[in-house]
Each structure stands twice: as C-alpha cells, then as structure tokens.
C-alpha cells in the first residue's frame, strides 16, 4: 500500500471513525459515503464506541508479508454494538482463548511496517474487555 493510501484512511483506522446515515440513522463502517441500508448519501462522521463481540475468527500461523513479526495471531469478524461487522486482529489474547460471542473492545495498535526503513502502520484491533474492579 502506498503512503498516501495509508494517510487517507488514518481517521477510520486509528479510531474507528465511520459514518451515520442522516436519512435512516444506520451506522456505517468502513465509511463509503452511501448508506448500505437505504441507498442515500451518508457522509456525516460517526465515532464508534469500539465495543462489540466476536462473530467468527481464524488463527493465522503463516502471516502474509509485512505481518510476520506478530505471528501467530487471530483475525476476527467483530460485530460492533452499533451493527456493522468489522474484520480485525485480536490482541492481548492467547491463540487458544478466542470464543464466538466474546465481548471485545477496540484498541489502537501497531499493524506492521513498510520494512525496516518505511513508515509504521497503526490501526484498530480488538481485545477482550479489560476487567475493572
């Protein structure tokens, strides 16, 4: 991916900023400017809460180029509490731990880098909800 492509999507990727439809109130992620529910234009920014649950998952032992450093890791489809399904890595979790239905929360982590001399890529991942007293 070109540096400019990373740069253009930084808001959605750092902080899970999507869109909300002004016509039917559907929450949209990733942002696409057209509401998938009613087909009208939807360009208003929406900050997702980051909370959701694991819908499905798979563990990768042979990671693609640029991601080897963090293997093995688990990629999940996460159903956000606002509705959309998002594909992302799970983090702060052991390979044997994930379960369908597990409550997770968004964190911003290092996704990889463009080689030793390239930029560092940051973006959303999900972790088991932090237990608080």
């Amino acid at each position: 991916m070109e540096i400019t492509s990373h740069w253009r999507i930084k808001k959605q990727r750092y902080a899970l900023v999507g869109e909300v439809c002004p016509h039917c109130s559907a929450k949209i992620f990733p942002p696409r400017d057209i509401c998938p529910e009613c087909g009208d234009e939807a360009k208003d920014h929406y900050q997702f809460s980051g909370r959701g649950e694991v819908y499905s998952y798979t563990t990768l032992y042979n990671a693609p180029a640029g991601y080897e450093e963090q293997a093995p890791y688990t990629v999940a489809m996460v159903q956000l509490e606002e509705g959309p399904l998002v594909t992302a890595q799970l983090t702060d979790i052991d390979v044997k731990e994930p379960e369908v239905g597990m409550p997770v929360e968004m964190v911003t982590r290092k996704l990889g880098s463009e080689g030793d001399r390239g930029i560092l890529i940051y973006g959303y991942k999900f972790r088991p909800v932090l237990e608080t007293a």
């Binding site: 930084k10 808001k11 750092y14 902080a15 900050q47 450093e69 963090q70 890595q89 983090t91 702060d92 052991d94 964190v107 911003t108 982590r109 290092k110 996704l111 930029i119 560092l120 940051y122 991942k125 932090l130 237990e131 608080t132 007293a133």
Partner: protein, 356 residues
C-alpha cells in the same frame, strides 16, 4: 532586582489543575527471577518483583493513545478543544517523525493543536506537564495534554534489565475550577550531571555505575522537594501522598525517609515492585494510582527525576471532582491486575533482542 524575580517556584497567572488523568500498563510481566536465572544462574537478589513488558504490537505511540483516551474519558471534554499534545519519552518509535502527531490524530485533537515530543530521560513527562501548566495558565490554551510513556530498554545482562519496564500516564491540564487536583505550585532543579545517557544511534543506554545515586537521584530530588515545600510553606506532614521517580524499590523509600515522609505516604504510588521502572512514565503513573485512591482535600507531592540531570516537584490539592472521575476510566490497579507472566525467551522476542 524586584522581589518577583527572586521567586524560584512557578505559579501560573490563572489557577490550573489536572482535569483528567489516565494510565496505561501493558499485560505482560517478566519476573526479575527470570533475568537472574539467565544471567546469574539464579543466584542474585532482585531490585523488584517483576516488570511490565509491551506486546509485539505496542509501542510508545499505542500506549500513549490508550492513556490519553482514559484521560479524556475522565476530563469529559471535547478533544478538539486541546491545543497541545506533548509526549515525553526515551523510546519514541521514530527518530524523526513525532509520536505526538499520531496520538493527536487518534484521539481527535487535530488539526488545531501544537504537537511535539519531549526528551529529558525519565523526567520528559513531568517537563511536558510543567510546560502544559504554563501554556494553560497563561491563557493561551484552555486544555493541554501532557504524557510520559516509555518502553524502556536495558542491555541484555545489564543490571537495568531487571527493572526497565513499560507504561506511563496522560494528563489533561486545564482551568482549576474544572480540575480534580489543583496545582499549588511547581519547581524544577537542574544541573549538568552525566549519570546516565544514550548516544545517538546506540540501542541501549550507558550509566555511571555508582554515580547514579548520591549526586544524581538523591541530590536532585531532595533539593527539588525541599525548595518547593519551603516556598509554599508546607511540610511532609501536610501531604496525604508522596510520589517519587522510582528506578527501583529502595531509592524512593530512602529519599522519602530522608525528606521526612512515612512509608504510608509513599505506599499508594510506589508501583515499581510490580511494573518496573517505566522511565518517563515512572512518577506520572505512580500519581495515577494515588489519584485513584485520593479523596477531596488530600494533598499530593509529586517529585520526578531525569538523568542528566533534573527534578520537577509539584504540589497538588485534590478537589471534590476526583470522586466522579474515579469510575470514568480503568483504574491503574485494573491494569496491574491484568497480568500474563512470560519467560525470558518470550521477553527476548517481544523486545527485539533476537537477531540473526
């Protein structure tokens, strides 16, 4: 010279305080006995119990983002009202390219903000807090975010490897009447003292062995704390809590005793036995644990130390607002209790100590 110019402590024109605070500590723990097992055949006393270690996808940028989000949750302000994002660290992921711009973007503080990275060994974080007090106290900004965060590195086998940990804290400075703790005054004591350093392009730091104690840590911290208390007319008994920079367990215990503080005043903020020395985050993350325990009208003395060398001292007065802030974000103890023990081999992989 007028009397005004002889004043050594710093107090802003407009009263300022902490309107939000947030901690971050990663989940992995390396017991000090693991370091002793590898390098001393297990036959060595250890300066702490265990240290916090960042995971493969964590660095000062990601850790600062989470601490800043916790501070924002407690401050309950709009991130676009922040006019400075300042991150103090010894382990910025880039040599050139600010940590602070990524943090500012991720929390929604861009584009109407200053952003910069601060460096002053372990006091880079409190230096950023001092600057934020001035920036908000002058009226130039309503809110400023100051962070101290580190993923500290020790050369394999070096005594620093037992303690060099990961973690830190974020603070939002703003008007005193919105604060959970008001800054009563601050002070900074600085000299040129080469006790610890890392040359450009070197991976691991060097230190002046026994030079690190008496003329460095102890002299600067006692000078800083005493000058601030003298100027404010306070004494150790006036404080409910005291927090020092904590490179190991013994140094803060000894300096507390020298200054006349009791072990009870030190206890709540003494996190080093369980998370290690988190460098620029050390005193500041200790303060988050103190604020988690603080009640209205408590007084807190915070004293940092940075090699090279300097010490920042701040006197804080806790307000009623602290009670509502406690529950708005995870407590520091929640992060400490989230604990996954690792062995030295896993630690070596996580910290990039394996090379082919």
């Amino acid at each position: 010279m007028t009397e005004e110019h002889e004043q050594t402590i710093m107090q802003p024109k407009n009263p300022i305080g902490f309107v939000g605070y947030g901690a971050y500590i990663p989940r992995y723990r390396l017991p000090a006995t693991e370091v002793a097992r590898i390098w001393k055949g297990g036959a060595a006393g250890t300066p702490i119990d265990e240290k916090a270690v960042a995971g493969l996808d964590e660095d000062v940028i990601t850790m600062s983002i989470e601490a800043a989000r916790n501070a924002l949750a407690r401050a309950q302000i709009n991130p676009s009202d922040i006019r400075a994002v300042w991150v103090g660290s010894e382990s910025h992921p880039y040599s050139v390219k600010p940590t602070s711009t990524v943090v500012a973007e991720a929390i929604g503080a861009t584009p109407h903000t200053l952003a910069a990275d601060w460096e002053f060994a372990c006091k880079a974080g409190t230096e950023a807090v001092q600057a934020a007090i001035g920036f908000t106290g002058s009226g130039m900004a309503r809110y400023a975010l100051a962070i101290g965060m580190d993923t500290a590195q020790g050369r394999p086998g070096d005594p620093l490897e037992y303690t060099a940990g990961a973690g830190g804290a974020a603070y939002i400075l703003g008007p005193a009447d919105e604060s959970l703790a008001v800054v009563e005054g601050s002070y900074s004591y600085t000299t040129d003292t080469p006790d610890f350093w890392r040359r450009a392009d070197e991976k691991y730091p060097s230190h002046g062995e026994r030079f690190t104690g008496e003329p460095a840590y102890f002299h600067h911290i006692t000078s800083s704390a005493q000058e601030l208390m003298k100027a404010l007319g306070t004494k150790p008994a006036d404080y409910t809590f005291v927090v020092f920079h904590q490179p190991n367990t013994k140094f803060p215990q000894r300096v507390a005793k020298t200054l006349g503080f009791t072990p009870e005043q030190l206890e709540a903020g003494l996190l080093v036995p369980r998370i290690g020395n988190v460098y620029a985050g050390s005193a500041l993350v200790g303060l988050t644990a103190v604020l988690d325990a603080a009640k209205p009208d408590d007084r807190i003395l915070l004293v940092s130390y940075g090699s090279g060398a300097g010490s920042d001292a701040m006197s804080l007065h806790v307000t009623e607002r602290v009670l509502e802030c406690h529950k708005l974000a995870p407590r520091t103890e929640d992060y400490i209790n989230r604990r996954t023990e690792i062995d030295y081999a896993t630690y070596a992989r996580f910290r990039g100590k394996l090379s082919q």
